[in-house]
């Protein structure tokens, strides 16, 4: 029995602490996936909260032979997709880009790093979400293609194609936005 299953068992026995340990363990990972897909701080936090609320309500239906993290990431991606669908389309939020052009203080090196980070975020936001999700799960979360396939409910071949296209897209965007980062 892995650690997560143990916490789930505790929660199902009525100990809320089991659920809270899972929240603390995964909150940053969930937040970073959401943020990479929507690019908004405040809303990312709200979506992360919604994800864990769904987990809280759905843990009694969770199949113990499955991997908790796979199930959690699937909820995360689907909840974020739901948010994007409601919003109609992906809206770029300049204010959400870390550092941004407003970073006018500090040594020139720090400014350059911030500018590059902002450029990367901006370029990332232009990658279509359906490709971006696979790339984020691979490059930010470090998941395997087979785990990503389970989360996105598609074949490994589709995952491969999505990641390849996302990288191509991002490369083109970075070149277009100045090319310094690449």
């Amino acid at each position: 029995m892995n650690e997560d299953t143990l916490y789930i068992e505790q929660f199902l026995e009525g100990k809320e602490a089991g659920f809270e340990i899972l929240v603390r363990k995964y909150q940053d990972r969930v937040l970073n996936i959401v943020y990479s897909l929507i690019g908004k701080d405040r809303e990312s936090e709200d979506i992360a909260q919604e994800v864990f609320l769904k987990v809280y309500q759905g843990l009694k239906f969770f199949k113990k032979h499955s991997q908790f993290s796979t199930w959690l990431y699937r909820i995360t991606v689907n909840t974020t997709y739901g948010f994007l669908r409601k919003r109609g389309r992906f809206v770029r939020d300049e204010g959400a880009i870390e550092g941004g052009a407003a970073a006018g203080e500090g040594p020139r090196g720090t400014l350059l790093i911030k500018e590059r980070a902002a450029m990367l975020r901006a370029a990332l936001e232009k990658v279509p979400v359906k490709f971006r999700a696979a790339m984020v799960l691979k490059d930010i979360e470090g998941l395997s293609y087979s785990e990503i396939a389970k989360i996105l409910r598609c074949s490994i071949g589709t995952v491969e194609s999505k990641i390849y296209r996302a990288r191509q897209f991002l490369k083109a965007e970075l070149v277009k936005e100045g090319g310094e980062a690449i």
Binding site: L31, Y56, E98
Partner: protein, 146 residues
Amino acid sequence: MKECAKVKRMLSRYLDKELKDSESAMIDAHLTGCSVCKKELSELSLVKKLVSGIERKTLPQDYLVSRLREQIADEKKHAKGFPLVGIGSLARRLIPVPAFAIIAVTLFLVINSMRGVSENSLEDNMLNGNTVTAEMALGVILGAQN
């Protein structure tokens, strides 16, 4: 050229170490003699490095836990005030089923009772030589279906 197209399609998987050993060896061999694919690999590798190194956001340890505690407590309180909220979405979806069943049974009983009245009225009226209304005839037709 044909091989380049095949290799390019596999470069992401190569980079992510998701290829079989034999496939990786094939890519290695191709890359030694193809500067175009080599350049493509180096660019993809840089993109991967950039995304992997993106600054991670972190939340204070109990930030979400306290927000969730509040939300869950609110929902539980709300569920007490509105018992239907607490019975689960499946049950809520099933509520219309008994409602429809009640309507169907009521309709059946009304029609059945109408049938008795209409049949009698129709027969009585016919025997008495009175006018037979459409309503009476309808009652007989509905009755005839059972």
